[in-house]
């Protein structure tokens, strides 16, 4: 009996020791091969949790510190305008075929008191009591966004978030967007996107962001087209089979390809991309209007 108990004790000790040593050994190996930072070794997998919080911190900076707390998680999800703007939600390719990204984020910067205050207390709603009401005179409580180059203040947090979790592709994409759009730091944006692609080879979001950089900033249409085609291919490989695929990304890619072909006078190909876009767009009528417009132009001999 005693021998059996001793054996069980030894086995338990071995198992406990293994669970303790294994992650440390893995981290040490990573560090020795130059693929992990001291932060990785120190925090282990916990760094991913920190990465999400740091990413939210960047969004809090985008809102000038007026941001929902962890007690208001629903409001926090609604408030994520930093990512929305960077993902190109203001780019209405479907509607009029023009890229309104620039105007889009300026609009964001200008609007104050975003929407009506909801009742029931908490972030963005009517105060519940005098303490909350008084606190609003002392703390940032007006809905504002960074603008006119102030977006630079988010960048350290995005970079830190990407360092903590290199799999968080949004951090690379969002940082690259603001770097090239607001700060005109195209080289830095490209470098950061390449770093993201090194950690996430062939990620469709990063390829799409790289294509936008080539199209909008470098005007290198050939490279932009190649990148968008690669992004489309990778989207189909990685997202198509999912239960809830990222259709917004697909429509952005298709919209980008259509716009690029319009710029090059390739109207037939643009129409083809618009037809694909129509299937996933939340505004199929607007896309159809665009298709009709291009068909008319094609008939008039304005393009190929």
């Amino acid at each position: 009996m005693r021998t059996a108990l001793t054996l069980i004790l030894l086995l338990t000790a071995c198992f406990s020791l293994a669970t303790y040593l294994q992650p440390r050994q893995a981290s040490r190996e990573l560090l020795e091969h130059g693929q992990a930072s001291a932060l990785d070794v120190l925090l282990g997998d916990g760094r991913r949790l920190f990465a999400n919080e740091i990413f939210a911190k960047a969004d809090a900076y985008f809102h000038r510190g007026n941001y929902p707390s962890i007690f208001e998680l629903n409001a926090r999800r609604e408030e994520n305008h930093m990512t929305a703007a960077a993902a190109g939600e203001e780019e209405h390719y479907e509607g009029d075929g023009h890229d309104h990204g620039d105007e889009g984020h300026d609009e964001h910067g200008e609007h104050e008191e975003h929407g009506e205050h909801r009742k029931g207390g908490g972030h963005g709603s009517e105060p519940r009591d005098w303490i909350e009401a008084f606190g609003r005179h002392l703390h940032p409580s007006v809905h504002l966004h960074l603008r006119d180059g102030e977006e630079r203040e988010m960048l350290p947090w995005l970079q830190l978030s990407a360092r903590l979790n290199p799999r968080q592709v949004e951090a690379y994409a969002v940082a690259a967007y603001w770097l090239r759009r607001s700060l005109n730091k195209v080289d830095e944006a490209e470098q950061f996107l390449r770093e993201g692609l090194r950690h996430n080879p062939g990620d469709p979001l990063l390829l799409h962001e790289m294509a936008r950089l080539e199209f909008q900033n470098r005007k290198n249409y050939k490279r932009a087209e190649n990148l968008w085609i690669a992004a489309l291919k990778r989207w189909r490989e990685t997202e198509a089979g999912k239960e809830e695929p990222n259709e917004f990304l697909l429509s952005s890619i298709l919209g980008g390809l259509a716009q690029l072909n319009i710029e090059q006078g390739e109207l037939t190909r643009a129409i083809d991309y618009f037809r694909q876009l129509k299937e996933v767009s939340p505004l199929p009528e607007a896309v159809q209007r665009r298709i009709d417009e291009l068909t008319e132009k094609l008939k008039a001999g304005e393009g190929r």
């Binding site: 303490i131 606190g135 002392l138 960048l155 970079q159 730091k185």
Partner: protein, 258 residues
Amino acid sequence: MNKILAVAGVVIRELYRRKDFYVLFILTALMTLLLGGVNFFNDEQIVGYLKEFCLLLIWISALVIAVTTAARQIPAERENRTIFPLLAKPIARWQVLTGKFAGCWLAAGVALVVFYAFFGTVIATRERTFPVADYFQAGWMHWQMLGIVIAMVLLGSIVLSTPAANVTIMFIVALGILFVGRYLNTVAVRMDEPSSSIVYTLYYVIPHLEFFDLRKRLVHDWPLVEWKYIGLATLYAWAYIAVFLLGSFALFRRKALN
């Protein structure tokens, strides 16, 4: 008044004789300067993260100085038996306590002036501006908050048996209020009775230290707070200071010192 100031003077002298302040200031300065040297995307105008980090260190340091200084005042006098010659002089117990409070609060204020001057200088090297009024508001509110904490710690030093317990509990209370205090009403409405009423009562009873935290305004370049709200917040702080000091007087008056 002279008696109170004399006791306060001793406490202030104690602060600059001890090494706590110097160590915390040097640590804050070193860490801020190191972080200031980090390059983000070759952009030297990025300053928000530096402000946030430096202010966080200032808040931690000031809280440590205030709590540890206040927590050892009465127990040290009792341990060293210096309380007896002190009270043998024509000075009332409430005057001793008020003097201790005033000394700790003024010492914390002096430390804050040094910290905020350093903060302003570092930020001025990046932003090329020195918004005195903003720093004054932030520093003033910070000082009021420390006043409440010091009064609370003095009360704790009379109620609790050891300075270590007092320091630990007061840190937990102060940090808890700073992090969660303003959200207790949000939490309470999601709870069932009687927990909801208990949490809501707690929400109304605790001193809302987070009122005095203007760091976000400095970090994100918000305009000045209207002075009338600074005035109201100051009165709010003084009311809590008075409550805690009166509680301390009442307990200390009847406390056996041997």
